[in-house]
Amino acid sequence: MALVEIADLKVSFRQYGGTIDAVRGISFSVNEGESLGIVGESGSGKSVSCSALLRLLPATAEVSATKLELDGIDVRKARKEDLARLRGRSAAMIFQDPMTAFDPVFTIGHQIAETIQSHRNVSRRDALKEAEDLLLRVEIKNASDVLNYFPHQLSGGMLQRAMIAMALSCRPKVLIADEPTTALDVTIQAQILQLIKKVQAEFGMALIMITHDLGVIAETVDRVLVMYRGEVMEQGPVQQIFDAPQHAYTKELLASLHASFEPSRGSDNKTPALELKGLAKAYRIRRRRGLFTDYSDFHAVREVNIALPKNRIVAIVGESGSGKTTTGMMAMRLTDVSRGQILVDGQDISALSPEALKPWRKKMQVVFQDSYSALDPMMTLTQTIAEPLHIHGIGSAREQEETALDWLERVGLDRTYANRYPHELSGGQRQRVAIARALVLEPDVLVADEPTSALDVTVKAQIIGLLKKLQAEMGLSILFISHDLSTVKSLTDSVVVMYRGRVVEEAPTERIFSDPQHPYTRALLDAVPATNPKNKRERTFLTAEQIAAQTPRLTTLQAGIAPHSDPQLVAIAPDHRVEAYVTN
């Protein structure tokens, strides 16, 4: 018997000035123990469908269906007692952002025990004991400590594990995972996906994996449903979807996994467009002791050397906390520099006063991850794009507007968008505006800080394409900051891998993928989800200690430098440097 049966489900939301049809008549079923993937971009109705299954939609939603059944219960007619059974026991859910999914004022143990006690008549003590066992089963080693932690004391990855433990607490028959790894680093994503598969097998549950990422689908499910604008485009076994996609949208999704790479042209001028020399950032940590204050330093970035050649694209890749964004912001002089030099076209700008810096600002621009907060909501697109020209006093007001309009077209938006405001645009369109604003001054250097991380896969591919096109046209040098190696594969000429505030490896992109030397680079590469279900595999994950232990060891003869107790960046091939211990 099917565990989940949905037939002709329609969901619409009442809003000011009309209704929005989020789901337009979809049907699917999930059998016991089966894994179904629902893939689609934001707004495709994939999450809404599953929320409808647990009646989690807000009161403004109107739901209709010819059949909407979970575990043999008609969800539409479910009474209070039925709902309590459906939620948690029939189906449990894991959500996207673990940081906001726990109540901040209660401990993890309390929140898991409370779930157990609301479904079964057990004592507090037994519930906590069960919670501890569950935490151990999701591979949290210090489970008894974690019980007493508040959510803010745990990392995103740990919280997502705890969230999975909580979902398992009532032995649900189906686990619904709504973008469970989108908010996490790539290495953590791989660990969480593997964990979800493991517990699914152990507990014999069905799984519904909702995601926009085909890689996640390839790794986890048997059957796929492709959704687009509230409708099911196609569905079938996962291998069939990857090998013989029927629908144009599915094909586009798959194409975004396999973008081709063409190197940028480079330049004969060997002076780098941007060179960071021994650039470091230390934050002062204040620790209060009674009436007095102690200071200690936190080294966000430890003396990195990065060169961005003219007319090239270089990636800085690393997980959150690796110092990649701080490095980018220091390069732009948007964060104060603790030590080191920033050479733009050979000239050091690290100590210039704000006034002296102004002409340099014209030469270097930045694009941020969150396009929504990066654009002034009160300014029209033309005003936004023309503002840098205004600040630097380039051209008359008329000319500034004309240039802005030209740039709208250049980034692939229609001139009729001129008087629109940011909230009227989609995420991808806003990022195009942000790019236009950055490039309108025709800078030499662009720092792009995760510009595609918040975007859907197909849109992400378009933005990458746009950056490549503009780079080639303008001869730009781009420093592209990303947490994801697969994103930079089709875009950048070389890759700098950062880990814990240090550069641990640096090589041409192709070489990073074919011959990674540092254990952390390998871990990053290994974590990239498969692009075809045929290639999915078990992974082993390295702890920080293992990464340190596996750091390459070279003799002074091999490295050509003197021995040192700390790991040193050593050139092992032309353009390929890796951090290694150098010993006699």
């Binding site: 459906l86 939620r87 109540d103 004022v105 609301s118 009532c170």
Partner: protein, 309 residues
């Protein structure tokens, strides 16, 4: 935590000194003095003698230091307008009615406001939500002397249920307490409503629903606890604002409270009383904010239990 409290107490001391200086200087910067000719027709010689007696002939910094030295010994001087008692005696006598009426106003008003705000948040866009909005708007916009007048008109003049004014017997307290409660009810109704709606729109509430918790438990255990965090910080400062008396309410209901002295001490250039009142208010606000911050830290684990792993 102890270190934090100590540091805050040190900063309270500095605030105290700064405020006392500013007030003292402003007090004396205003032209005129307590024995101006048109208020007090006395001869030049008498006036000089009075000034010397009260120490007003000395340089300002000497007057200031002398007064502050007295303050350190709980001696706030003698009020010019009531020389038969010390400032401290006057304050303790006049403060009782203000504290009782204003304090009860807040103690009754705040819970009522919280209940109203909760009901509004839980029944959004229903008649109760609109009622709460109406109460909040009326309570905050209609001046308290108008409310007081309406209360007297309705309950004392038309319905004849309650006495209109006076102090000693408790049935006379009811109307002023209602007048005092208007602002706490309104403020708390608004704060509670928006804090709860804000909490209820956060993702963790959906998670709580998805794991099968009853709506009751979600509201009373999780939403309330989270919403309370901003609410507690409003309480003490509001309590002090109200429990030091309102000149309007006390005048309308003829309560012999502290409120009137705030005005009369300035009007009659009653320097010792003026200083004492201002220092008292400053001190109480400093302590109120300190206590609020401590309570805030106690109920908010993100502050109580430090940093991430």
């Amino acid at each position: 935590m102890l270190g934090y409290i100590l540091r805050r107490l040190v900063s309270v001391a500095f605030t105290f000194i700064a405020v006392s200086l500013i007030i003292f200087l402003m007090m004396h910067a205003v032209p005129g003095g307590p024995f101006d000719a048109n208020d007090m027709p006395v001869s030049e010689a008498v006036r000089a003698k009075l000034m010397a007696q009260l120490g007003l002939d000395q340089p300002l910094y000497v007057q200031y230091l002398k007064y502050m030295w007295g303050v350190l010994h709980f001696d706030f001087g003698v009020p010019y307008q009531s020389p038969g008692e010390s400032v401290l005696q006057l304050l303790s006598r006049a403060w009782v009615p203000s504290l009782v009426l204003g304090g009860l106003g807040v103690l009754i008003g705040a819970p009522l406001g919280i209940l109203l705000g909760m009901a509004a948040a839980l029944n959004r866009n229903s008649w109760i939500d609109y009622l709460a909005s109406a109460v909040a708007t009326i309570g905050l916009t209609i001046p308290v002397f108008v409310t007081s007048m309406l209360l007297i008109l309705v309950f004392a003049v038309w319905l004849k249920w309650l006495p209109a004014s006076g102090w000693p017997n408790p049935e006379r307290w009811i109307l002023p307490i209602i007048a005092y409660a208007a602002i706490p009810v309104a403020t708390y109704a608004r704060y509670t409503r928006s804090a709860m709606l804000d909490t209820m729109s956060r993702p963790f509430v959906t998670v709580l629903r998805a794991k099968g918790l009853s709506e009751r438990r979600i509201v009373f255990q999780h939403v309330l606890r989270n919403s309370a965090i901003p609410l507690v910080t409003v309480f003490l400062p509001m309590f002090i604002g109200t429990a030091t008396g309102s000149i309007f309410v006390e005048a309308m209901f003829r309560v012999p409270g502290l409120g009137a002295y705030f005005v009369s001490s300035i009007e009659t250039r009653d320097y010792p009383l003026e200083m004492a009142l201002m220092l008292m208010i400053t001190f109480m606000y400093c302590i109120a904010y300190l206590l609020s911050d401590i309570v805030y830290a106690l109920i908010n684990p993100r502050i109580r239990v430090g940093g991430a792993e």
